[in-house]
Symmetry: C2
Amino acid sequence: MTRAVTLTEVAREAGVSPSTVSRILNGTARVRDNKATQVRQAIEKLGYTPNTFARSLATGASGSVGVLTPDIASPFYNDALSGIEQGLMGSGYSPIIISGHWRTAEEEHAVELLLNRRVEGMIILGGQLPDHDLHALSARLPVGVLGRNIDLSRHGGVSLNMDNRQSARDLTNYLIGRGHRVIGHISGPSDHADARERLTGYREALEERGLKYDPTLVVQGDFQEPSGLIGMQRLLQQHSDLTAVFSANDQMAYGARLALYRLGLRVPDDMSLVGFDDLPGSTYATPPLSSVRQPMAEMGRWMAQFILARLRGETIEPFEPRQELMMRESVASRRGL
Amino acid sequence: MTRAVTLTEVAREAGVSPSTVSRILNGTARVRDNKATQVRQAIEKLGYTPNTFARSLATGASGSVGVLTPDIASPFYNDALSGIEQGLMGSGYSPIIISGHWRTAEEEHAVELLLNRRVEGMIILGGQLPDHDLHALSARLPVGVLGRNIDLSRHGGVSLNMDNRQSARDLTNYLIGRGHRVIGHISGPSDHADARERLTGYREALEERGLKYDPTLVVQGDFQEPSGLIGMQRLLQQHSDLTAVFSANDQMAYGARLALYRLGLRVPDDMSLVGFDDLPGSTYATPPLSSVRQPMAEMGRWMAQFILARLRGETIEPFEPRQELMMRESVASRRGL
DNA sequence: CTGTTAGCGCCTTCAT
DNA sequence: ATGAAGGCGCTAACAG
């Protein structure tokens, strides 16, 4: 692996000065055509690749925005990543993606790495970073947070989050409207804000409709499939009159679905089921799972544009994430209604 | 956003020379304790963040390895990404991930970007890059290719791919062994090497067992769910005696599963179904889908280690990807056997 | 152990 | 329109 070709070498090869090559590369100034041609040929011949580091050092601009995701393999956040990529495309900026693996220490380390790389803006997806860190970050550069409520407006940052409570309420109301009266809930971890809000929404919907909130109808999971499976089993043991279950996310709903399958219970005939998040897999679940869709890709795209705007000193129209109830085939009207 | 603090400023604040600060930062040499303390305090006070660009420029090492993935949101390749992250962890190297969106031009552009960023090695996941490009790349830096067969050994590169043909044969044999005689195949796009190999494996298994290969039992899909759904419908129309279907990937199997559900056909009672890839979702499908698992994460991890080894001028034990037949509940023994 | 001196590769005035 | 010169922030000899 030989040392990379430098701009100076290209200049020498083309018989011009380094500045000229630089100008041609960046279109900074008009250069006589024949020189430009010579230079291009030299570049081609030598296989020259500009060195980002040197350039960034000289210009003081890195042309990159940092993206912190909790998990590079999370189907949920990856839609947002796609959106961010899209939003950045053609802007001259490129994303630098790092995952924090849901560990605060790793996330802090990742942020540091991003800072070292002199990202000009940062997009944080969910994660565990203390609000304090986020505020501090936001004071240094444009920051956008996705999937989390935090007021960053003091330094011009934003956060985008769906209304978990409202969506959970809608979902629960949907079940109630279909005639269900004994509705279980498989919740997420209680130390998780989203999980708590979804539980609250569930409870509120029940109470608004005059149904008593029964804590034994709530079992706690951890947002992973196995906990959904176990949760469903537990609900079934305790409530033989159960007709519907609202799972706090799709993954747990898949687990719950499997529990039912194992017991020979049919969905939706014997049990209605709804999830939350509308993962890609839910459209092709058996049966297709009703859920509430978060427009992650759109949110990601908007976030990218937000950062770009701030970088240019412009502003951008605020984004109203519109959650969408995806009513599919996993819910039946209750018999005998 | 004020200009970032520099090492020189830290040095001034701490009353030492820049080199001393540098040495402390990198542990390059022993420094008297009290100075070290002063420097750390100065760093803390000023909120200093080392500039990766300047460092890389000076050392000539970027400390990063490029990763090209066809799609940042692909559940299949993302496992490999996780593996790569893991394999790199603690090595001082970090991955720079870019997606090529299955478009050759974009992929080439991405490679260029990576080269500009002076990645020291590169891992390519699948994709469309012509072999030619890969060879050229491999001559410049350590390259590993995942999910694709190409001989890069001349310049010390590697490619890791599972044996698609063998796995497809195993899968088909598995169905035959369970008594199935009329087995359909939903194939992938014919311009896709993996898809062709899987089809070949299917065909070979059939012929080895003395079953005639019937082209009308093969319908072509595009590796996406909808094409699986349509494929299954077509197979069903033409072959009323069909008892099993081998889908060239899990995603199409999900689609096929849905087609069956819609027709009221049960899996596995009325139809056995196997997929390929063993996506995370397959464990919790209804019923859990039999498939063949590619150890993507392990492959990714090994790839990372391979690159690291080459960077250090060491060698590493070759990796034998062991595909694993995941026999779950989507296959039944044929009645009346 | 620590300071001084050169660059690393590129961009950007400032002259010409 | 183009070249020369200085500097971006950091590291790595080289002297002490």
